[in-house]
Structure formats: structure tokens, C-alpha cells
Amino acid sequence: MSTESMTAPAKDSASKKSSANSSFSRIAKYTAVRLVTMAITIAIGIYLTILIANMGGYVDTIMRNDIRESTTMAILANPQYRLLGTEEKHELIQKKIATEEKRLGLDQPFAVRSVRYLANGLTLRLGRSLHITSDHGSKEVRLILLERLPATLLMTGVSELMLFFGSILIALPLSRKYGSWFDKLTITLSPTSAAPAWFYGIFLILIFAAILKILPFGGLVDSPPPTNRLDYGLNVLKHLILPVVSVIISSIFISIYAWRTFFLIFSTEDYVEVAKAKGLPSRDVERRYILRPTLPNIITNFALLVIGLWTGFIILETVFVWPGLGITIYRAIGIYDTPVIVGSTIIYAYLLALTVFLLDFIYALVDPRVKVGAGSAQ
């Protein structure tokens, strides 16, 4: 059970300084500080990714391919050079490539170049893929990956939100009835969360698609997709059921268990006892005296869960043939499409950082200490 808090020192120091400001500027400042630290963190993370990728000179290869393709295309398409012979054209192309490589600094030492790669990565200039194309036929890695992002976000968003609210809604009443058979059942079942979502996905496909034949094996929509917009939506929902259910099965019991235990620890606090003694209805006690003060920790836990799930979706998408980022990586591995692999690693780094940041931001919103520090009344 991880109840550790992701206390950012930046926040602590910031909260001490300005006690006179309104809570809005407090949060704004906090956000700004977080944003800067996060940007630095992302930069370092992407730099490390580039270092790992370029241990064998692979980023260089991406760049060189890019140059070769664009120069060759430019010369072949240029009517000025049409009259040249093949030999001469070839020579010209080689010369141009050499100049271009020099211009882009491929002859410089790696330490210098890596900084530029970092800038490229941060601005999402991810180069061109070797084989994979986007649905519109583009070979820009950025376009390929951004095109796949919505599908991934749909699946992750739906499953994570359901997981989050589902487990809290179940855990909260459960913490009051601990020792009941349902409570014991949850405890007994929580070791099942040792297996990742794709693993349950295989079983679900086996049962609901292969044997019962009531749900599709995978994919985003039927082929051909329904033309009607409503039917399309329903069809996507139908395809969404199995992946989402497998994510939920793989994590729900452990998170219910963790939060139940957490609530239990908090519900023995004195102020909860006082609230109970005052005769407040149990709903109010739950909401105001248990849920409210534990919210920051809940969000922290959720952040860690989401971070864990992000990369897990690579395999889940593969198992369910879900046309998202993950399956693109999987295909890229299969045909050694280096730019796509490096590019998606960078996109994942961004997604992780954004998740951390977003949850940190929510954290700041719900953390009572931030508001108390601002001196504003309830």
C-alpha cells in the first residue's frame, strides 16, 4: 500500500512565502513553479531517451535518412536538373547531402548534436518514419503518432476514470463495514491484481469473443464502419467494453483494498470520532471528515496508478488490436522503424509528464494546506 505523498519541495517553499495573497494567485504561483520544474524534468527525461537511443547512433541514422530522402526528392523534382545524366545527378545528390549534413551539424561531436536533438524532441520534430505511414499517407512521425493519440486517450481515459471513481465509491462504504463477507472477498481477491491488464484481456477475448461470440475480438470499429454517427459511437463503445473491463479487473481489487485500508486508518482519527459523537449522518462523516482530508493522498495514489497504466497500454492495445499509440510502437518494433520508436518514447515521456503535472495541479486545488496557507476562510 503506497500512501506516500509526492510532496514537491517547490510547493512547500512557495506556500510559506505568500500568506497574504488570495488562494487564486497562490495556486497560480504553485502551478508556475510546478510547470517550470516539470519542463526541466521532461527535458532531462527526453535527453536521457536520446542518449539511450543514440548509443548505437540511431538518431543519426534517422537524421541522415531524412536528409537523403528530402535532398533526393528535391533534386529529382527540380526541372532544372532534368537534363543531367544519372551519374551526374547521383554526384550532385551526394554533394548536396554532404552540405546538408554539414549544415545540420552531423559532422559535429555528439555532445553538441544531442542538444539539438533535444530541442527537436521537445518541439516534437520527430523526423520521418522508415515504413509506417499515417492514415493520410504521411510519413511524419509526429503526424502518425498524433493521429493515434485520440484512440489511446479514449481507452485510457474511460478505463482510468471508471477505475478511480468505482474503487473510491466502493471503498468508502466498505471501510465502515470492514470484516463483512464482501470486505473479506475484496481482500482475498486483491492478489489477482498481480497480473497486468493484457493478461486478463486474453482471457476475456477467449470467453466473450472466441467462445460466446458476443463481443468483438478487437479493433476500434467494425469493418466497414457504420455510416450513421450514433451507430458509430455505439460500435466503438462495444469494442471498448473488453479492454476497459480488463483494465478494471486487473486493478480494481487492489485499489479498493488500498483505499479501504487508508480510509480505515483515517476514520479512527479523533475528529472523526467527534463528528460521529455529534450525531452527524454517516454520509456527511464520510464526505467531510474522511474523504476531504484524504483527498490529496487519494490523488497521489491515483497518479501513481495512472503512470503505471500508461505504458501498460502498449501491450493492451496490441492484444486488442486497438489502433492507438501502443500498437504503433508494437508494429514499429516488428519492422525496426526506429524514428517511430524513438518518437513514441518521447510522446510517452510527454504524456507521463502531463499526467504528473495535471494531477499535481488537482492536488494543489484540493490540498487544504495550500488554502490554509493562503489565509482564506472556508
Binding site: T41, T261, T345, A349, L352
Partner: protein, 447 residues
């Protein structure tokens, strides 16, 4: 001593702990058996050997024990050989150059369907003159079917279904049906009973010899079945166990111990060391773990040991550091640490003999509970096609199966066998770790 006894007594109160321990011991036993019976090189050869090693097995065969649960008994594959005495072989001298080699094999066939294929592999030794063999098939109801008369070269395979002469003489392309079904009935019923394969060979030289191997490809094979390359799945099931355990245990141990040591050092020295560790943890949180593993696997090496090292390296600065840090911050102020400081203990001594040992009760449950995630990580990498290229692992079997569409084609055993083993391992460690957590964390004991 008493503490251990108490812990043990506490331990026995949790059925999940007993089940977990049982599972772990069983897995350890299987690993020991696998490593003792199949040496590493042999495992790699059997797994990567190619058709030469696997030709005796049928493709996509389900495990033989499927017959116990099914009304229709499907044929089980087998192979017999003259060399190991499986086929009876008698050599009689005809004259000074000629020998007659008689080989007969009788077997009971009580299945409800004919086999996929019967193949005879001949292995002969001669100098100039090819030996000759005539092959006969005798059904339980006494019919005698001539299979082939042929001169046998050094290495010859006779596939009954593919043999055109045999197809012609039986007047059907479905040779197996003709050999096993009752001749006059339209009901297509297999004649059950003792079949006999009689090979009468003649050699024409002094040192000439004939050996034969009969391979029957049924629908079922062995304890675990086979995959699309005819490989016996028993091998990855057995040999995957020590690999999964080694990966899981080493990764869990390495990660937890190193995390703890780093957390202890950070808290003890404080200041910029602590700050640095905190920052690294935050950066590590943003690094896409699986994506980096994939990148390294694609670009450099898919060796399981490299993956293991990288996994540990990327996991040590995980969320655990914060948990441990919080606890170390408390125990740093404890009076026994102060006492140690007073007598002049060095920082290293305090960290490794005072701070860390106190944490071991907390360490053990999280260590055990983190084993399954690493076992599944190995499987996940294999499912992505980044499994070790040489070793037979559970994940690799799932990968082969899913890339061959096993679920679409109803070859459920192929996916379920490794999946059940993975689940079994994961649950065993998770249940054990769970019980340990409740025993060692008194805070959780009552709730």
C-alpha cells in the same frame, strides 16, 4: 527464537500464506527438476533446433489428456524406432550376401478418428546396392493392405498420405481413411483393435542394414501439446519456470534492496545528496519505462539478462524511495542511532548495520509482492516480441500463439497453458506477500 516462532504461528493463521508458500515451493521444485533434467544447451537446441528436432511431432496438437474430458477420443501421436527396440527387428541370413530384415510393429488403436499422417523414416547402410523393403498394413479385421515396395536409399521418408502409388492402389486420396475406416460401411467408423505394420526388408551386402522409425501424427500430443513449429510445449512450460522465477526474484531483490540503500543514504546524509535523489526520482517518474525497454530491446540486444539489468536500473528510483525515506527520517532520530553516533560509528556503519536492518520486516513483504509484476514484465516483453531469442519462456509461447491467431482458431490450450502458469506464479507470490504484509505491518493487522 521466540520471535520466529511467534511469526510462524501468526503466519499459519493466514490460509493465503500457506497456499502462497505451497505454490512457491512447487514452482521451485519444478525449476529444480527442469534444470536438472534439461541442461541449458539442450533446452536451447530443443527450442530453436529446427525441423530436424521437431519432425516427429504433429502440428497444433492439443495435450493428450484432452481425451479424458471428451467423448470422442482423438488419436494421440506416438513414434517408435527399431534402434531403441520400439519396433521388433529380426535379421535372418538368407545367403552369404543377402540378409532378410523383418520389422513388425503392432499397436492398439482405440480412437474415434484416423490419424493425420503416418510416416516411415528409413535409415539404411550400404555400399553399392540399395536394400529393398516391402511394407504391409494389417488391420484388426484381418485385411492386408500393401503399402509400398521400394528400394531404400540412405535416408528416405515415406509419407503414407502423400504417396501417389499408394493413393492409386487404394483408389482414394484420403489414405488414412482407407487404412483405418471399415471398408464397406458408409458410417465412417474407425476399426478399433490391433493394427500391424510389417516391413520385410532385404539387404544385398555384408554390412548393409535397414532401420526404420514410424511416426504417427495424431490430433493430440504429450502432456502439453505442440505449436505451429511442431515443438513440444512441455519444454517451455518446464523450462520457463526457472527463467520466470529467476527474473522475478532477482529483479525484485535487486530493486528493493538498492532502493532501500539509496533511500537510507539520502536520508542519512541529507542536504544535496537527498535533494539529488529526490530529483532523480521525479525524472524517473517521467521516463516511459516500457518504451525504453522496447527501445533497447529493438536496438541493442534482446537478451533476458540485459533486460533484467535495465529493469532494475530503471526501477530503483521508483515510488518506493519516498515510502522508505519517510520511515528512515523517523528512525534517523531514534535513540539507538544517537548512541551509535556517540560511540563514533562511521556513516557507512550506521546506514548498513543500524538503519537498514531495522527495515527488513518492511522490506520482505514488498519484496515478495513485487515478484509477480516482474514475472509478468518478462512475459509482457515477450508478448511484444522482445523476448529472449534463445530461451523458451512462457511469454514467448503466448507471443507465438497470439501472432498465429490461436484464439481465433480455437487452439485455446496454446494460450491457456502459459497463461495459467503465469497466473499461478503471480498469485502464489502475491498471496504470500499479502499475508507477510499483514504480519509484519502491525498497523494492518486488525483491519
Amino acid at each position: 527464537m521466540k520471535a520466529i516462532k511467534n511469526t510462524l504461528r501468526e503466519f499459519l493463521k493466514y490460509p493465503s500464506a500457506i497456499i502462497g508458500i505451497g505454490v512457491i515451493l512447487l514452482l521451485l521444485g519444478v525449476s529444480a527438476y527442469a534444470l536438472a533434467t534439461i541442461p541449458y544447451k539442450e533446452a536451447v537446441r530443443l527450442w530453436r533446433g529446427g525441423e530436424d528436432v521437431w519432425y516427429q511431432n504433429p502440428k497444433y496438437a492439443a495435450p493428450a489428456w484432452f481425451n479424458y474430458f471428451s467423448k470422442v477420443k482423438k488419436p494421440v501421436s506416438f513414434k517408435v524406432n527399431t534402434l531403441d527396440g520400439g519396433i521388433e527387428k529380426t535379421v535372418t541370413v538368407v545367403n552369404e550376401h543377402m540378409d532378410s530384415v523383418d520389422m513388425t510393429y503392432s499397436f492398439d488403436y482405440a480412437y474415434d478418428a484416423p490419424p493425420q499422417e503416418i510416416t516411415l523414416y528409413f535409415n539404411t547402410a550400404f555400399d553399392q546396392k540399395l536394400p529393398f523393403a516391402s511394407i504391409k498394413w494389417i488391420t484388426p479385421d484381418g485385411r492386408e493392405i500393401k503399402i509400398s515396395n521400394m528400394a531404400v536409399d540412405r535416408k528416405v521418408a515415406l509419407r503414407f498420405s502423400k504417396d501417389e502409388k499408394l493413393q492409386k492402389s487404394l483408389k482414394t486420396e484420403r489414405v488414412m481413411d482407407a487404412l483405418f475406416y471399415a471398408p464397406d460401411s458408409d458410417s465412417r467408423k474407425v476399426v478399433k483393435g490391433t493394427y500391424q505394420l510389417v516391413i520385410t526388408g532385404t539387404t544385398f551386402e555384408d554390412d548393409s542394414d535397414i532401420n526404420a522409425e514410424m511416426v504417427l501424427h495424431g490430433d493430440l500430443y504429450g502432456l502439453a501439446g505442440t505449436d505451429k513449429y511442431r515443438r513440444d510445449l512441455m519444454l517451455p512450460m518446464l523450462y520457463g519456470t526457472p527463467i520466470a522465477l529467476a527474473f522475478g526474484l532477482v529483479a525484485a531483490l535487486g530493486t528493493t534492496l538498492l532502493t532501500m540503500i539509496i533511500a537510507a543514504i539520502g536520508t542519512w546524509y541529507g542536504g544535496w545528496v537527498d535533494e539529488l535523489i529526490q530529483r532523480i526520482t521525479e525524472i524517473n517518474l517521467v521516463l516511459p519505462f516500457l518504451a525504453i525497454l522496447i527501445m533497447v530491446g529493438t536496438f541493442y540486444s534482446r537478451s533476458i539478462w540485459l533486460m533484467l539489468g535495465l529493469t532494475i536500473l530503471l526501477s530503483i528510483f521508483g515510488g518506493g524511495i519516498k515510502t522508505y525515506r519517510a520511515i528512515f527520517l523517523q528512525s534517523k532520530e531514534a535513540s539507538y542511532i544517537e548512541a551509535a553516533r556517540a560511540y563514533g560509528a562511521s556513516s557507512g556503519r550506521i546506514i548498513f548495520t543500524y538503519l537498514i536492518p531495522r527495515m527488513i520486516p518492511l522490506l520482505i513483504p514488498s519484496l515478495v509482492s513485487s515478484v509477480p509484476s516482474f514475472v509478468f514484465l518478462e512475459a509482457s516483453l515477450a508478448v511484444l516480441g522482445l523476448g529472449d531469442p534463445l530461451l523458451p519462456t512462457w511469454g514467448k509461447v503466448i507471443n507465438d500463439a497470439s501472432s498465429d491467431g490461436a484464439l481465433y482458431r480455437g487452439l485455446y490450450y496454446w494460450v491457456l497453458e502459459p497463461a495459467v502458469l503465469l497466473m499461478f506464479t503471480g498469485l502464489g507470490f502475491a498471496m504470500f506477500g499479502f499475508a507477510l504484509d499483514r504480519i509484519f505491518n502491525p498497523r494492518l493487522r486488525d483491519i
